[in-house]
Symmetry: C2
Subunit: 521 residues, 2 copies
């Protein structure tokens, strides 16, 4: 293509973007995305030579959002309005062409399905900004957005009917054996495998990720973006200098932070990334915290060594430990030490891999979710089947495992709990029982197969005469069977209440049974 | 007594103390205690009006130790020399009589049984200053030193033949129901129950504690001194102002820090002490850290809410959680999050109390110790039997439980391990196996009663042809039975080595069995 027509096209694109940014305010809703697009200098290295940001104001509210260079002489500043109504803005830049631009727009009420970003609620749980409970059922699909379009669209179709409302995915491509798809896009200018100019981003790479992140958002799925990972012997994106790392982080945040469904995962298996020390991770967390005007959730995923999740910049613990959710007595221990939401993002995977981290039966995967949930924590899924063309874990596609429908069943149970939050009822004593004291109980028997259960609830929040209804949940077969009659509380001893008539409940003597007990009005 | 003879007696005492302080240097050994006694002003309130300290030097080594007023016009400055050889000192005071006194003494080699203070070693373990492993087998006896002499001496005799090398004890008396002995001594001047002058200490109270701490030291027992506790509705020692708390801490440290066997436990069930917030505990930790020139071990014991043990001023986690050592898979989790030695100081108690925290069978108490130990952590004992005159937990005396001899057996096993340190061998996979990879293994079967065990060890540190000897330990009956023959390692799969001849080991099909496997030369 002759350079004259290329430049002309760039100009048209810039003008088009400018025109789009001036569209009526109706196009932007609360927790949606407003974007300012500005033509500016393309000479030199705009990624490092130009700074641009905007100050968004609404009465006393002030939000500072960094912009970014999107190539082709075009700069963008994105903003997620946290409230409805009129917002005004003014840009700042070291380039006169980008500086001092002002304007306003009106954020409309959020449309159906837009509940805003997810944040921490009640110390151990999550909720959307509008107060809707967020009952995390996560999955991991590291490189699904580094595949070809056909596969990526297949993955999206799979997700659309899945129970998963969070997906862990890498920004940088992976080079490990499970990733059969070679990414045709790279985050930096240069040439594979190692001739990169880390000071120049490849906007096309990021535009592609944005497309996918937006599609996840539209499916109601949070994108837990993994900012660094150790699975890179090929390209060296895991061995950049601190200056390059920090520039990369700011660029990613400038591009993605206005997507309401992003979470920031500093790294996968951070301690396996030998080029960085713990102090680097402290710094990386703080760069992200400072750069993100919305305070999206921040975590870091461990290999063998767990990061100090008590640090103020960690919003929730993201734990890899398969053993921790083998029973709820283990899972609960992390709550006490971190006093934050606990997400067991990696508990081994459903599959038939040779490695012991990829051999869980579907039953065991579902058990780990239930064990985590009744302990007041959250769990993540993935799968790896050797017979399939390539694994969900690495590159998405379709599910070959049997756990997803059962996780959908669990998610529905979670969403029906008060506030969608399960708390331990009698901590360090009876971890198989979670719920809300006096109101709601979920008792999970795991691999036990009891034939009956004596009605008995821990004393907190209960008094003589309180009435309860009981259902038997088969967590594997996904059935809910109401138990006939009403159970009336009567003090049994210093710790518990029994049924006034001393009744027991007949159980199916099968594994993976739970009870749901709700107080009656 | 007429005041003239009282004053005369005080003078004689002061002169006597001065004479004793000038005894030949031979009396002080490394990690022993050197004491300077100085007569000084008794008027006003010497506890707040006078400051006194000394600077001890040996070449480049400098240790600043605060002194204290011991009543009767006498001031003392204590010092624990960390090295042998000549030490010089010079005092500093705001009182001319106490200021600028100088002298020297020679610290001799430590006598048998004096291994110095205990510190942290290899992140998760403890050792004495001379390198001797410290294999913690703790017990709790909150108010044993607030009893009458007869009972206190009985407790010491009981301890002398017990396995316990650490004892948790309160400085302040307790008023709860299990404490049948009313303390005749109080830490402050004034009158019970609540007429205290918190600015004036009662030296006699502290002298009595010192006597008992020194006797524990001579028995080889660390005194884990509990500085605050919530069991005080009567006297209000748990509700002092921050200024009074800090003065109390500095006084305690000035008196006790030169005892090599002291540890500082900021509080028992700190979160049940409603008069203080977490920030107060942060401050209290820091006052102790700053005031103690020797860096004795520092921890804090929780009720329902665990303190942030990742804080730099916490040397080890002191955990109350009975459930955490029901199996080693739980115990191990705290290691990862704290990266410090984990001491489960309260795991419920052996006994027959009505409360569920005091009903452990001896078998269960011993199981909790073993579960903790094979997971690379440490455990604490106590007992409460309703039929006894009063409980070991509250006030000492004798043991009524059956666990102590089994804990002696465990301690011996621990001390025979390499460096006295047990590490998880295959973390998050097989927590029943601890030891030192390639060298030494302790496999604990808990309540399982296997009839045989296929020889199999995790791969780390093992190669084909390595030879091992096996013993069967009955942790309850305290027997060690060598297994005939030598087991030779042969790679089994990607994770483990088996016996080259494929042999299994016949086990007694009884609970509480362990295997000890040691590499042969």
């Amino acid at each position: 293509m002759p350079s004259i027509s290329l430049n002309l096209m760039k100009l048209i694109l810039a003008l088009l973007a400018l025109a789009l940014s001036a569209l009526p305010a109706a196009a932007v809703e609360q927790w949606g995305m407003f974007e300012i697009a500005l033509p500016g200098p393309a000479s030199g290295n705009p990624f490092v030579d130009s700074t641009v940001s905007a100050r968004f104001t609404q009465g006393d509210r002030v939000v500072e959002a960094d912009g970014f260079y999107d190539g082709d002489g075009l700069y963008r500043i994105r903003f997620m309005p946290g409230t409805t109504g009129e917002w005004r803005y003014q840009t700042r830049s070291n380039r006169p062409e980008l500086d001092g631009k002002s304007g306003s727009f009106t954020a409309s009420a959020p449309s159906a399905g837009n509940h805003g970003p997810v944040g921490v609620r009640h110390t151990y749980h999550f909720a959307y900004a509008d107060g809707t409970p967020y009952c995390q059922i996560g999955t991991t699909c590291y490189s699904w957005a580094h595949a070809d379009d056909e596969r990526e669209e297949l993955t999206l179709r799979t997700l659309a009917t899945s129970p998963f409302n969070k997906l862990r995915m890498c920004i940088f491509p992976q080079d490990f054996a499970f990733d059969h798809q070679q990414s045709p896009r790279y985050p930096f200018a240069g040439a594979p495998p190692r001739e990169w100019d880390f000071t120049r981003f490849n906007p096309e790479f990021f535009r592609h990720l944005e497309l996918r992140i937006g599609q996840l958002r539209d499916l109601g799925i949070e994108a837990d973006l993994i900012l660094f990972h150790p699975y890179d012997k090929k390209w060296g994106f895991n061995g950049m200098s601190a200056v390059n790392d920090d520039r990369y982080l700011r660029y990613v945040i400038a591009r993605f932070a206005a997507y309401r469904n992003v979470w920031w995962s500093m790294s996968n298996e951070y301690d396996f990334l030998r080029t960085k020390k713990e102090a680097d991770w402290d710094r990386i967390f703080q760069v992200v915290q400072r750069s993100d005007p919305y305070g999206h959730l921040r975590s870091i995923h461990n290999g063998a060594l767990i990061y100090n999740n008590t640090q103020a910049w960690v919003t929730h613990a993201s734990i890899q430990n398969g053993a921790a959710v083998e029973d709820p007595d283990r899972a609960v221990l992390y709550r006490d030490v971190y006093r934050k939401p606990i997400v067991f993002d990696e508990v081994k995977y459903e599959g038939d891999a040779a490695a012991r981290w990829g051999q869980l039966s579907a039953e065991e995967m579902v058990l780990r979710f239930w064990s985590g949930v009744v302990a007041g924590t959250y769990v993540g899924h993935s799968e790896i089947f050797a017979h399939s063309d390539s694994s969900w874990l690495a590159i998405g596609g379709v599910f070959h495992g049997q756990s997803p429908p059962r996780l959908a069943f669990l998610r529905k149970v979670m969403e029906e709990a008060p506030d969608g939050e399960i708390e331990p009822i009698d901590k360090w004593q009876d971890e198989r029982t979670g719920g809300k004291a006096g109101q709601y109980y979920l008792i999970y028997f795991g691999k036990e197969a009891p034939a009956s259960w004596d009605f008995s609830l821990y004393k907190t929040g209960i008094k003589d005469g309180d009435r309860f209804g009981v259902e038997i949940l088969d967590t594997w077969n996904m059935t809910i069977s109401p138990v006939a009659g009403v159970f009336t509380a009567k003090k049994k001893d210093g710790y518990a209440f029994m049924d006034a008539a001393g009744r027991s409940i007949v159980l199916p003597a099968a594994p993976y049974i739970a009870l749901r007990i709700r107080r009656l009005p």
